[in-house]
Every structure is written in C-alpha cells, then in structure tokens.
C-alpha cells in the first residue's frame, strides 16, 4: 500500500516533469514577467500589457505560419516581403468605401496565397533548398512591391470604420488584432493536432521519404504549408496596413527573423517534424516582452537589433543542444 502510493507520486511527478519539459518556454515567460515587473514599474500595467500584445500580434500571426512550414521541414524567408506586399497593396486599393474595403482585404490575401503557392511549387516540386528559394522570392516580391509603388510611401487618409477597426477597434476592452492573432493560433493548433493535414505535415517533416512511401502526397502538403504561411503573412500585412495607414514600401522587412526566432524559442525543431503552435505563442510573447522591456529601459534601436540577433543565435543554439542531448 505505501509502496503503491509512493509509486503513484513518482509517476505523477514524472508526468509533471515531462509536462514542464515540453512547456519550459511558459516557465521562461513567467520568469520574465516577474523579473520585468520587479525592474520596471510601468511593465505590469493593463495598458502596457495590452500594448505589448497588440504590438506582437502582427509578428505573431507570421510566426504561426512559419511554425507550420518549419514543422514540415522547410523555411520561409519570404514572409517579410509578403507582409510588405500585402500591406502596400491593401492601402493602395484605398479602402474608403465598403466595396473598396472588401477588395483591399481580399486582394492582398489572394496575393499571399499566390506567393505561398509559387514557393511551394518550386520547393515541393523540385525539393529545392527552401532557404535559397525563399530568399529569391523575397527579392522578387520586394522588388515588385517597390515597382508597384515607385518606391514612394502609400497612404489612405479616411479608411472606412471597419478597416480602421481591424487594428484600432476594441472588443470587450481588448484590441481586435489580439483576437485575430489568437484565432490564428487556435486555428493552426487545431489544424496541426486534430486534422489529417497536421499529421501529414509532421510525417513529412520528420521523414520525407517514409512519408512518401506510405502514400502521403508530399509535394501537395509541402505546398499547402507554404500557402498557409503566405496567407498568414498577408493577414499580418493587412493588420499592419490598418494600423499604420501611411506605409513605407519596406515596412514588413525583418518579420521573417522575428517569426523564425519566436518559432524556435517555442521549441519548433529546425530539422522538421516537431513543433507546437501554442508554444510558438509563448515564444512570440517572450520576444514581445523583451523588446518592450528594451524600450522601457531606453535602449537604442541599434542595440535592440544586436540583442535580437543574439537572441536568435541563442535560441538556435539551445535547439541544437537539446537535439544533441536527445540523441
């Protein structure tokens, strides 16, 4: 009886430890919040926290798509360019009437799907290296965006209230972009855990050859991950456009690095097959918290750039360490 009881405790402890190991990132987040609220008085206020959340929602939406692509064993470095393209096109279409608003929501999303499909077709069809291909599409898309705007700013002065509300509105006192972000997270989490799509993508990411031999149409599903990522990037672009309204045609550059960092911080394996969208959410929040605290601590923009690079390398190194440890 006592023996069984201790064993029960042991099993429960083991389960708890396993759970913690899988979700270490949430503990890190908790530690960061505690630390920051001790260091800076203005950190743990509702206004600041909501601000941080709203700030990260765009990069967060991109990270969700990136996580799915990473789980499928690929990288998508073109997302920053897609964000820019979607934002610029959305504003350029002048959402000043109901009709125009619909157009300036639909066209960017279609463009996002298109960029994703092109990436996916090249990478899926040819098994070409995803980093190099998406760097190529990144340049092509950015060039197209600059060409479209002639390198000038694009702006819209009086968008419809609906368009304005995409980033400026509140629901139950919480900014709408946060809802869009969380909905994307939940949708992707559902896709990756409860559907055939998710299982297939995981299978492809962990062993492409085995997945193909067991009858999964790998080319198609690889392509679908890129299409999903393109869609997420375009969605983020629309939120960005609605928030800024006066866009410089390079506005989305750099989102790919935040998205990659967040996904890796969340424990997504760079070699594919392993990853969890909810943990990416924690990664996004940590990144947001860090840049917020750097602002609160009055660091210069350039130092933040350096810090972000170091965080990226650190996250990658931790990923590599844990993988080696498992082996």
């Amino acid at each position: 009886m006592p023996l069984g009881w201790t064993m029960g405790i042991n099993v429960r402890m083991k389960n708890l430890m396993a759970l913690l190991r899988r979700h270490t990132i949430w503990l890190v987040l908790l530690a960061m919040v505690v630390f920051m609220s001790l260091v800076s008085k203005s950190f743990l206020t509702a206004t600041n926290l909501l601000n941080v959340l709203r700030q990260v929602s765009m990069a967060g939406i991109v990270s969700v798509g990136m996580t799915v692509v990473l789980i499928g064993g690929n990288f998508d470095l073109s997302v920053g360019a897609t964000v820019t393209l979607a934002a610029v096109v959305s504003v350029y279409l002048q959402p000043t009437t109901a009709m125009n608003t619909a157009v300036s929501l639909i066209v960017p999303l279609l463009l996002g799907l298109l960029v994703g499909a092109v990436n996916g077709a090249i990478i899926g069809g040819l098994k070409a290296n995803s980093v190099v291909v998406t760097v190529g599409t990144q340049f092509a898309v950015l060039g197209a965006t600059l060409l479209y705007t002639g390198g000038q700013h694009v702006w819209v002065w009086t968008p419809t209230p609906f368009y304005e509300a995409i980033s400026g509105g509140y629901f139950l006192g919480v900014p709408i972009p946060i809802f869009i972000f969380l909905l994307t997270v939940l949708a992707a989490h559902w896709l990756m855990t409860r559907t055939t799509f998710g299982r297939y993508v995981r299978a492809i990411g962990s062993n492409d050859e085995a997945a193909r031999l067991s009858g999964i149409p790998t080319t198609l599903y690889r392509m679908l991950t890129f299409i999903f990522s393109g869609f997420c990037a375009a969605l983020a672009g629309i939120v960005l456009a609605s928030r800024v309204k006066n866009l410089d045609p390079t506005a989305g550059v750099g989102y790919e690095f935040s998205a990659l960092t967040a996904a890796i911080l969340g424990g997504t394996r760079l070699s594919g097959g392993v990853g969890n969208v909810l943990n990416t959410l924690a990664g996004v929040l940590i990144l947001g918290g860090i840049s917020n605290s750097m602002i609160l601590l009055n660091m210069s923009f350039n130092t933040q750039l350096l810090a972000r690079g170091l965080i990226f390398v650190g996250a990658v190194a931790i990923d590599a360490f844990s993988q080696r440890h498992r082996r």
Binding site: F75, L126, F139, A140, G143, A144, F257, G309
Partner: protein
C-alpha cells in the same frame, strides 16, 4: 538520346553558354557604351569586390555549407577599416580582416560545435554582425580622411583597377587551394559525402571551420576594398551581397548539395551576373526591376541545380546499379 545528352550538358552548365551569348549580343548590339574602357573598368571593380567573396563562398559551398552572413560581415569590416585608421592603414586593414575572419570562425563554430544547420547558423551571424556594426556606428556612416587608403581601390595598375587585381589574385589562390592542397581536397571530400570523409580519417569539423573562416576572411577583404572605394565605412551596405554572390557561384556550377564546383566556374558565373547587372544599368532599367530579375535568376539557378542533382543521381544509378541508391538516399 543525343538530345538528352545536350540537354543534360546544358543543365550542368546552368545553360550559361546560351545566357552568355544572348547577353553579349544584347550589350554589343543594344548599346555603344559596353565595350568602352571606362565601362569595362567599372565592371571589373564591381565584379572584383563581390568576386573576392565569391571565392570564399565557393570554398564553403564545395564543402557542402553556405554563408549568408557575408553582406553584414563585409559592412563590419568596411567600417572597422575606416574607424581604426589610428593604427595606420596596415593596422586598420589587419583589424578589419581579422574581425571578419573571426565572424566566419564564429559561424564555423556554430556549425561544427553545435551542429546547427549552416543556413540558420550564418543567418544568425548575419543578424549579430549587422546589429554589432549598427550599434558600433550608431547607424551613421564613418567618413574616411586618409587619401592613401582611398587610393587602394581607386588606383589602377596600368589599365587594370586594383580591386580587379586583388580578385584575380584571390581567384588564383583559391584555385590552387581547392585543387592542389590537402585541405582543398578534403573540402571536396567533405562536400561529396561527409560520412565517408569522416570514415576515411578527415577531421571534418576542422575542415569545415577552416572553410567558414576563409569565407569570413574573403568578406573582410571585400569590405576593405569597398570602404576604400567609397571612402566611407557604411554600416548598411551589403543587404543583397549574399544573394548576388550565391547566384554567381551556383551559376558557375557549384551545387547546393556540395562536392562539385570550381574557381573557373565561379569566374564565369560572376562575369555573367556582372554583365547582366551592368547591361541592365546601361539600358536604364530601374533598380526595382533589377531586384526582381536577381530574385528570379536565383530561383532559376536553384531550379537548374535541382535538375542537375537529379540527373547526377540517375547517372550514378545507371552506372552502379541499385546498390548505390541506398547510399545516395542516406546522404542526401
């Protein structure tokens, strides 16, 4: 059968022969400015500065790696070569090149010690080096006051601009290194099949580290040349250097999977990319179109590289039979 052989040859050459003939006809017929000494000198300088990096990039790519950080490392070296002038010209250049080599070695350590995917490791180095140089200069360009330093890249030896001379020296040195030194042969072995290279006694980690350090060094030399040419250390240059260089190296027949490639090939790739952007400039094509063209060219080259890899695999299967298939799938 014969047509298939011609096609395979073209794929192996990345259809460079066709592209080059088209380009040369275009620039010769379309504009009178191409075959002028002045333009050819400009072309030499432009090709030369990125060409020095391409030499290093060829080494690392033959070894099966890649370096995406060359652009920011080049910016870092350029800034250091100007801001460290108080140690004298030679001292400043030495510091700049040393710092760049250290960046390369850093990437190499990330790849070898931690086993990080080279794309991601060098992407990280790219962010860190860019952040470092932006912090160091506060995002402001550093002006050069030393006329002698400016003369390095603006000077000419006869008709040949010095950057072109440096590039030729680097190319010859690289060719000798890859072909005739033990380390160079080890790099080919490493890129061809890492497991086999390790099994036959090559210290693969050291070889990789050396390759990344060399690439960093080449980016450093290019950074010094560019800073001297501009007479400024700019922290924001080099955004598309990696793209240009990798495109040129791939065009020259080096494969993303490693194990194949040569310096003469890289030279043809460089000249093609150089003449292409030079002619786009001569035809007054807006910079945005050039960006699109460069992106598409990279994708096209990767496309041909994939075709080539597939073709090579089939050829191997034909000659060695089924037994080699397992080995191929286990390494690729």
């Amino acid at each position: 059968m014969n047509r298939a052989r011609v096609w395979n040859w073209l794929v192996k050459q990345r259809i460079l022969p066709i592209l080059d003939v088209l380009l040369l006809v275009m620039v010769t017929v379309g504009t009178r400015d191409f075959w002028t000494i002045r333009n050819l000198q400009n072309l030499t300088v432009a090709v030369g500065i990125e060409g020095v990096i391409a030499v290093g990039m060829t080494v690392v790519m033959v070894g099966g790696g890649i370096d995406l950080s060359v652009g920011s490392v080049m910016a870092l070296a350029g800034v250091l070569s100007v801001s460290m002038q108080r140690f004298g010209i030679v001292g400043a250049i030495a510091i700049a090149v040393l710092a760049a080599s250290l960046c390369g070695a850093g990437s190499g350590l990330l790849v070898t010690r931690l086993g990080i995917n080279p794309f991601i490791a060098t992407l990280g180095m790219m962010l860190v080096a860019r952040g470092a140089v932006m912090t160091y200069t506060d995002a402001q360009p550093v002006a050069n006051a030393n006329l002698l330093f400016t003369q390095i890249a603006r000077g000419k030896l006869g008709l040949l601009p010095i950057p072109g001379l440096v590039f030729l020296a680097a190319l010859l040195l690289g060719h000798w290194f890859l072909r005739y030194t033990r380390l160079g042969r080890d790099i080919y072995a490493l890129g061809g099949n890492e497991e086999a290279a390790r099994a036959s006694g090559i210290r693969t980690d050291r070889v990789k580290l050396a390759a990344y350090t060399l690439t960093g060094l080449s980016a450093g030399v290019a950074g010094v040349l560019l800073a001297s040419r501009l007479s400024t250390g700019s922290p924001v240059i080099g955004e598309d250097t990696a793209l240009n260089v990798i495109t040129a190296v791939l065009l020259g027949g080096t494969s993303l999977t490693g194990g194949v490639g040569s310096m003469p090939g890289t030279l043809t790739g460089l000249l093609t990319v150089g003449v292409l952007s030079n002619s786009l400039n001569l035809f007054n094509v807006p910079a945005y179109y050039q960006r699109i063209a460069k992106g598409m060219l990279l994708i096209l080259v990767v496309f041909f590289d994939s075709l080539y890899v597939r073709y090579r695999r089939q050829a191997l299967l034909r000659t060695r039979g089924k037994a080699s298939e397992e080995r191929l799938t286990s390494t690729s």
